[in-house]
């Protein structure tokens, strides 16, 4: 998994696919069994605290001490971050309409989400790791939180790794996407490729798979007569020519929206053929 510097990387996957575990591995909260992790040039876990100093983290559940007030947790948090910006934090607190003396245990879900985003943004991080940051928030709060995030990213050019299963939200804000399923990264690509590269094809007299397809065949199934429906990845208009060489005929190329693409990608990843295709 590679998150390009300056990108907004959407980390997609169904519940239980391993997104949160991956994020916790990246931040050194869990020990890795194998492999190597580098965050902002620092090896994890050895140099993780140096990476964490430049990272804003929003976990999927409220992770703050409930008996502290908003002001107290801001002071506590500030003490650990050398680049903490008091003025920025205060501006965000007012912008999010959070009362300084409000105990965290009495915050609503929306207010908790805003507070976590405030803490993640106020120390001017180079990297933001957000685990379902808008999950369960009402549309107004969600918009506030995302606006603050996007404003920050636009101003600072920070890298964002955002995990979510809200695909349409990811589509709006992400320029890269990684898809996880069953603890495996099944696909990773620029959002434009993900959005435009997965198509459903209706093929008449479909050819046999001889391993020479110019695209990645994610799934194929018979519909009516000799017609088949294929889902392919990496589709380019020029690939129509492939079907003109033999007896087969490409009848229709159907665009999939992001959610359909995601579902097809997952479906194919869960079949042995799909796994082989991904590995190739």
């Amino acid at each position: 998994m590679t998150v390009p510097t300056g990108s907004v990387y959407g980390f997609l996957g169904p519940n239980g696919s391993g997104k949160t575990t991956t994020l916790r591995l990246l931040l050194g909260m869990l020990p890795a069994d194998d492999g190597a992790i580098t965050v902002l040039g620092h090896d994890v876990p050895l140099g993780v605290h140096k990476a964490l100093a430049k990272t804003g983290y929003v976990p999927e559940r409220l992770h703050l001490y409930p008996t502290l007030t908003v002001e107290e947790i801001m002071r506590y948090h500030a003490a650990f971050y050398p680049d903490w910006d008091d003025a920025r934090a205060e501006q965000l607190r007012r912008g999010f309409s959070l009362r300084a003396e409000q105990p965290i245990e009495r915050l609503s879900k929306g207010e908790s989400g805003k507070l976590m985003m405030l803490l993640a943004l106020a120390h001017n991080p180079e990297l933001l790791v957000l685990d379902e940051p808008t999950d369960g928030l009402d549309p107004v709060v969600r918009r506030d939180v995302l606006s603050a995030l996007l404003e920050y990213v636009a101003a600072r050019g920070a890298t964002v790794l955002i995990s979510s299963h809200l695909i349409h939200e990811q589509e709006r804000i992400c320029d890269h996407v990684g898809v996880m399923d069953g603890g495996r990264l099944v696909a990773e690509m620029p959002m434009t490729t993900f959005r435009g590269g997965i198509k459903r094809l209706r093929v008449n007299k479909a050819p046999v798979d001889r391993g020479d397809f110019p695209f990645t065949l994610l799934s194929r199934g018979a519909t009516a007569g000799r017609e088949e429906e294929w889902v392919v990845r990496g589709w380019q208009p020029a690939m129509r020519e492939y079907f003109q060489t033999g007896d087969s005929e490409l009848r229709e190329v159907i665009d999939l929206d992001l959610e359909e693409s995601f579902v097809e990608l997952l479906r194919s990843a869960r079949t042995p053929a799909g796994i082989a295709a991904e590995e190739n």
Partner: protein
Amino acid sequence: MFRQVLFTQWKWARTELFAYTLGAFLIPTAILKITVNGLDDYSVGAMLTAVAAAGAFFVFLAFVCAIGLAVRPYLADQALKHVYSLSLPVPWATFLRYRFLAGAVLLVAPTIAVFMGAGLATMTAAVPPTLHAYPFGLAVRFYLSALEIYAATFLLQYVAGKNAVRVVLALIGVLVVLELGSRFFGTTDAWVWMWDHLTTLPGPLETLTARWMMIDV
């Protein structure tokens, strides 16, 4: 950083800490009221015996303070599955050092209360002229004992973590082996040997098991 860690731990434990401190202040007076009451200058021996026996209250208070102050922050971290603490940009060992030191600092409050309470109690009680008050010594013993219990509890929670139960079971296992050894193989002094080594200097439990004398010869 440390100031903030100290503040949060004080906030979590402030109610209990107030109770411990109040208790630490009042216990010496209560002990002397009960033990000295009715004794005259010729009852020095009886008075010392009574004061020594009452020392158990200080041991109990040291246990309560130490375990209370060690458990509070751990429960706060544990409730959040340590996610917040682990996400902070300091090495885990540094964070634990701050946590530990904050509790050690908070233990000073009941210790000062023991010192002041014992000082006030011995000044106002009718102590025979052959005896002397040792409020400072008592307070130092209280702090060291509480710190020792605090450190053991802290280590068991944060360092042993999920293995805490195993560590405790291993300790019990050692005790059982010693007991069996003493019964079946005639190593009758095993318990005594271990107890002696633990409770006499430089044994770690010396500070707890020695005489807690507010007044002594």
